[in-house]
Point group: C2
Chain length 481, copies 2
Amino acid sequence: MKNKKEENFNEWFNEVINENELVDDRYNVKGFIIYREWCAQSLKKMYNIYENALNEKDHKPLFMPIVIPEENFFKEAEHVQGFTPEVFWVTEHGDGEKLEKRLALRPTSETAFYQMYSLWIRSHNDLPYKRYQSGSVYRYETKATRPFLRGREFFWIETHCAYPNEKSAREHIQEDMETTKEVIGDIFGIPFIFFKRPRWDKFAGAVDTFAADTITSNGKFLQTATTHYLGTRFAKAFDVKYKTETGTDELAHLTCYGPGMTRIYGTIVAVHSDNKGLRLPFDIAPTQIVIVPILIKGKEEEVLKKATEILTNLKKAGYSVELDDKQKSPGEKFFMWEMKGVPIRIDIGPKDIENNQVAIFRRDLNTKEFVKETDLQKTIEKIETEFTKNLKSQAEKTFATQIVPVNSMVELEKVIKENKIGKAPFCSIDDDDGEKAAEEIKDKTGAEVRGADLVEKQKPNEKCIVSGKPATCYVYIGKSY
Amino acid sequence: MKNKKEENFNEWFNEVINENELVDDRYNVKGFIIYREWCAQSLKKMYNIYENALNEKDHKPLFMPIVIPEENFFKEAEHVQGFTPEVFWVTEHGDGEKLEKRLALRPTSETAFYQMYSLWIRSHNDLPYKRYQSGSVYRYETKATRPFLRGREFFWIETHCAYPNEKSAREHIQEDMETTKEVIGDIFGIPFIFFKRPRWDKFAGAVDTFAADTITSNGKFLQTATTHYLGTRFAKAFDVKYKTETGTDELAHLTCYGPGMTRIYGTIVAVHSDNKGLRLPFDIAPTQIVIVPILIKGKEEEVLKKATEILTNLKKAGYSVELDDKQKSPGEKFFMWEMKGVPIRIDIGPKDIENNQVAIFRRDLNTKEFVKETDLQKTIEKIETEFTKNLKSQAEKTFATQIVPVNSMVELEKVIKENKIGKAPFCSIDDDDGEKAAEEIKDKTGAEVRGADLVEKQKPNEKCIVSGKPATCYVYIGKSY
């Protein structure tokens, strides 16, 4: 790695991606890239983990069409306004014959799901109605694209749930946040804050938008997942009603949740990787353990036999293991597997066999230790439980240092100039005054009011750093990917 | 079920699909349907099983873009001729602004993969190069659509492999056939024949096409997967070359393989289901075992406790189990779960508890037996190993009765009228005379020459039933879905 994470984050990020061939951006359609083998294997594991978490909470999968007819798309006014500029349209077939109607390549699928919910949901007995779909969505981004973080095609899961009333729907928002903590927080090891997004930065058509943002080591927000309370707006537009126990018809309250798999992968790269290259959370590494035999002339057979024995045992124990017996020096192999982010490396040579030991290199701590062969399995199990936790606690330290409490515009300007995130008491993220205050911040610092902290309440008598009015919340202010 | 499989196959097939809500065809884009919960859960299992089989054989996944620019699409002459009539084109974005170039919604991805192979494959050391992608493809079908069997969007896997020469590429075709046997044959329990397709019915751009066709109980072919030897045609068009050991540049020999997940699911419905409804192979059933407690007044608690205990134990053993404690009669529940195709049902009531037994209904044989509770796990394991084998052997019997050897056009016409498949000695599937003979068959019977049997060789001196020339192969002749 030529670039260092601390010195030039963007160059370093691109280098981790390029050296590991995670994507190929030479595909000849602007904004469309290929997710290559090493990355694709992890993406598949991430999908499985996320789908299992949703299944556990009684969501069921659907395979929905990728095209949405324009008449659906135009049904909810705010939604269409927000998304139309970004839509790709399918208009022709064959030798250029026009289709009867234009079809949107789905930028998100509310307008496909809810017309069906209108048919599928009949009674209060059908609620809650919890469904999800895994797939790709399409948005004609005009800003510069960046692998994983912004493109015209990305891979995600979207859930769409219907509840009988606001209370139960808002409880579901809490459930989505729990799922985010379990998967993105614990299994992928990413620290984040859940924000309520300002009124002027909500999902088009939502009543409220909540987002899990992490912060990179160069002080930028990175959104990983959002969950939206849609109220009854889409239900009205698509006639999603249910019969109550007393026989009346009521509109369903809808929610949707969108963890972005390719975006989360990019976040994993940004947050966990270091100056040696990629570091992958244990559960999503395509290869969790690599075995490197140290081949010394005359002892090759003995070493390979032992290495194969270890390989077989670890495979039996359920790990993804690889034996690297290629014709390269151990040094080259160490370099490559560390760069690729394999969590555990086992080195074994003739001396180790003599001493009934192996060397274990762990990528969470970048340390090497010798372990008795009889303790190998136990040690691996121990590292497995510690690995992602260690990645996370390292990331949490960085995360915490990026946030600086500020109490005035002067302080905020200084913090933003230093490429950090400012945390400030703020008048309101839900009214015109707040919107004006956020515009002022944007003009003076170039940074955005990202949203209100859901947990921490401001102290009494604190004033908004812009308007001087009584503060109603803490907001986080900074630049974002 | 109103219709019987034996009496009206098509009506029965639609009824199995509709009663189980496997799809919804009310989506408002022609030819695009929704694969619903019960079906979607199995599709996900089928994808996992297939991907694991490919991973085992050293294929690696990619996530490729869904759009292919028209300049790629037009590079291989036969391919473009075959596929252009079926392409959907993305031409606009936003408020109707034209894109710089038209983008095809991929109908298949040769022209996306191979331009990248030209960049990725450099040397003989890179070969074989084995990749796959799971996803959806788009074809503007003009024939009447039918759920699972013909639509404008379908879900499949496509593999694309590069080899140094014809011999190794053709060996890979054998490997694809092995994978088909392992997965479609054994895990999904579908009997099929591997045909070499006639020259006039090949994949557009292929040198040879091989297809795994099953035969439905109403005597029609149903294609489940195809594998194609592409020779060096696409390699020439996309400049896929490698450096040999002696330093010369050679064109790679390409193969592609396409098992269709939604089509195979339809095949499973068609082949395994019966007059009670769906029957699902054990490994892909969303619920493998359902427990129905027989609730008699005053004994509910005791029965539910025992049922929950069994549920917990079977879950621990790794099965997908459900306890159906809804407020419905046991009879209604039996009817529903049999219709949904759950492989095993366990009924337990107060009398069973007294006798330390449970009743086990198995959907492969449609029989019920009493089993000592201590033998439950062992019995389930036994049924698990037998279940899909039983489905398959039942299907094989039906399959065999659909094929009738014929030795003349008169015999063939009779067989086709009886809605069976004729098997006949034939001049050639690789020349003009054969094509003319196949046209004559089509004109006289309405049936197609589906392809040549790869295994059985004709007896000496046999003559083609159309041209009277020496036969070079046995072909199967019939109608198809």
